[in-house]
């Protein structure tokens, strides 16, 4: 009898073992490879559904770590001087502190300001003119633009393939050491996707977290915002993601026609994407060409600096009158949009590249 029981157990074990071997054979993992650990992204309450399709690029701890490493690796640029994080600084909400225009390898300068890059997974188009149609391919532009990182992608891929640390990190994230552009861009995307900003004082007040409340001046500023700004800088992202001409005087030195360059449509002349007001106090300078270094200059511009052309948005055609008291209140409100969990989160901070 005992022998029989032993035998049955043996049979079951064997069948299970074969079935298991079969399963493993199907997944094709190399020896010793441990599957990357899935990562669940926490989205702020009340936010829209992500636009970026995470199912084609499931987040993993190792994928995000690889993306973060590449984001801060200056060796990705043509002359190993600038990284993504060089222009997209965490303390400036991933914009470029104190720089009107983006600059890159060899001291070259572009003709637009560095856009902040948080809440990217909620956007369907990228860049000031919306010319890039998928978050994954967005890094292609700064990487290859001669005024930014200026790299030849083929050269970069072979350089990375010859680096043991990159081979290991790609293996950890994807199972094999093969370094392809698709893997590379998807990993950068994974890291960028984690730059979510929805935990400011404003959010705590709106979501009734921990008894948070606006001061009288913040509250007054919120009302001004609702009356005078919210039509374009729409909650909860604080942008409606549309393209508008806000009446900013055209600069012939830069000759930037805005979205018209993308669509070829004269109706899009001088139109740029409405930027988010989240973290705005931390992300000066302002406008697509970074011409304003102080938020009060922006208030003054809307109050009396709008230059009307045929493309100027009807909402700002007559300017946005703001008294000194209103500007002050608006400033205090905008301060509540600073998300310290974005600009101080250690998981997003610079990694040391040896």
């Amino acid at each position: 009898m005992n022998r029989k029981v032993l035998f049955i157990v043996g049979v079951i074990c064997l069948v299970v073992a074969i079935a298991d071997a079969c399963k493993k054979g199907g997944s094709g993992g190399p020896d010793g490879f441990v599957s990357p650990e899935p990562y669940t992204l926490q989205l702020p309450p009340g936010f829209p559904a992500p636009v970026y399709d995470l199912s084609q690029n499931p987040l993993t701890k190792e994928g995000i770590a690889l993306g973060r490493f590449m984001f801060y690796d200056y060796r990705l640029s043509k002359d190993s001087t600038v990284s993504c994080g060089f222009c997209h600084q965490q303390f400036a909400a991933f914009g470029h502190f104190d720089h009107a225009l983006g600059h890159g390898v060899g001291g070259r300068q572009g003709n637009r300001s560095v856009p902040v890059i948080f809440n990217m997974l909620f956007q369907k188009e990228f860049m000031w003119d919306g010319g890039v149609n998928n978050l994954e391919i967005q890094p292609l532009t700064p990487l290859t633009d001669p005024n930014e990182m200026g790299v030849d992608l083929k050269v970069l891929l072979s350089k990375m393939q010859s680096d043991p640390q990159y081979r290991k990190m790609f293996r950890d994230a994807y199972g094999t050491e093969e370094i392809t552009s698709q893997r590379m861009f998807r990993a950068i995307t994974q890291f960028v996707v984690t730059m979510v900003s929805g935990n400011s004082k404003y959010d705590s007040v709106i979501n009734h977290v921990g008894g948070a409340s606006f001061t009288a001046e913040e509250q007054a500023g919120y009302h001004i915002y609702q009356q005078k700004c919210a039509a374009c800088h729409k909650e909860p992202l604080f942008t409606d993601l549309s393209y508008r001409s806000n009446g900013l005087p055209y600069l012939k030195q830069l000759n930037d026609v805005g979205r018209m360059k993308i669509t070829g449509n004269t109706a899009d002349y001088l139109k740029f994407k409405v930027p988010s007001l989240r973290n705005i106090i931390k992300s000066a300078p302002y406008m697509h060409d970074g011409r304003f270094f102080d938020i009060y200059q922006v208030f003054d511009f809307y109050d009396h600096g709008v230059e009307v052309t045929s493309a100027t948005d009807p909402l700002v055609k007559n300017g946005i009158p703001l008294t000194d008291a209103e500007k002050r209140q608006l400033y205090f409100f905008l301060n509540t949009l600073t998300d310290y969990t974005l600009i101080q989160r250690s998981a997003l901070s610079e990694v040391r590249i040896n």
Partner: protein
């Protein structure tokens, strides 16, 4: 008695194991309805009646402009075959980038062709719109192939670069980067060719179609394109559409080897 129980269990064990193994192997091998084979297509790039020679060959277009070619590349995808009964067979979606500078790219293999006889072939020159908006692609569509616009997302469907004394640029360079996947400037073009003789895709041999691509057609039929008038085409638009309509006419079958 013990021995009989042992044999009974052994039978169950073996059949169970076999069942698992059968299920296992089945899941690894897709069931094929009809036998399939491969068909090769060799693209032979010409200018008029002479084989295209990068940098070396000197040519003249219908506008009377002299030119040389330094780069000549195009995407081919979405192949379809029509069999002798008139039935259209859509082959699995594959993308190939034919590059004059790399011989291996000029011979492509359609590897899932049902065994049969075929009278016509159809494909697209370019990359369909869905691939233009779906993020970073791999293989022939990988961005490092230099056939993707970064500033205004989308594939360059076909590219010709060269020199011409009539080019208005500083170094007499002309650059024709033809793309655009959105209306009204969708440059994706379909090529439909009736084969001069029946193509026999047999189980034991691989047939080959020799196709000629005449680069000179970029400059004429139906639209006359002048390098002097448009030396640089690097965006979707009217000029790109004119060339796309021209290169849609550049393919012909030279021969079929069954």
């Amino acid at each position: 008695m013990i021995l009989r129980i042992f044999y009974a269990w052994l039978t169950i064990l073996l059949s169970g194991t076999l069942l698992v193994m059968a299920a296992c192997s089945k899941s690894l091998q897709p069931q094929a309805n009809a036998p399939i084979t491969a068909v090769h297509i060799q693209f032979n790039n010409y200018v008029g009646n002479v084989p295209l020679q990068l940098n070396a060959g000197a040519y003249m277009n219908t506008a009377g402009e002299q030119y040389t070619v330094s780069k000549f590349l195009y995407y081919v995808s979405n192949f379809q075959l029509t069999d002798i009964n008139g039935k259209t067979i859509t082959l699995p979606q594959r993308y190939f980038l034919v590059d004059q500078a790399t011989d291996s790219t000029k011979k492509i293999t359609l590897d899932s062709v049902p065994v049969g006889q075929y009278t016509a072939i159809k494909w697209t020159i370019g990359v369909d719109s869905i691939r233009n908006v779906s993020g970073v692609q791999a293989g022939a569509l990988a961005p490092e192939n230099g056939m993707f616009w970064t500033w205004n997302s989308g594939y360059i469907m076909a590219k010709m670069e060269g020199h011409s004394p009539q080019a208005t640029t500083a170094l007499n360079v002309f650059l024709f980067h033809i793309g655009g996947f959105k209306q009204p400037y969708n440059a994706l073009k379909t090529i439909s060719i009736t084969l001069p003789s029946t193509l026999t895709a047999g189980a034991n041999h691989q047939a080959k179609i020799n196709i000629k691509a005449d680069a000179d057609k970029w400059f004429h039929t139906p639209n006359t394109v002048s390098i002097a008038q448009s030396s640089i085409i690097m965006a979707a638009g009217v000029n790109a559409m004119a060339i796309a309509e021209n290169y849609q006419q550049m393919f012909s079958v030279m021969s079929i080897a069954n």
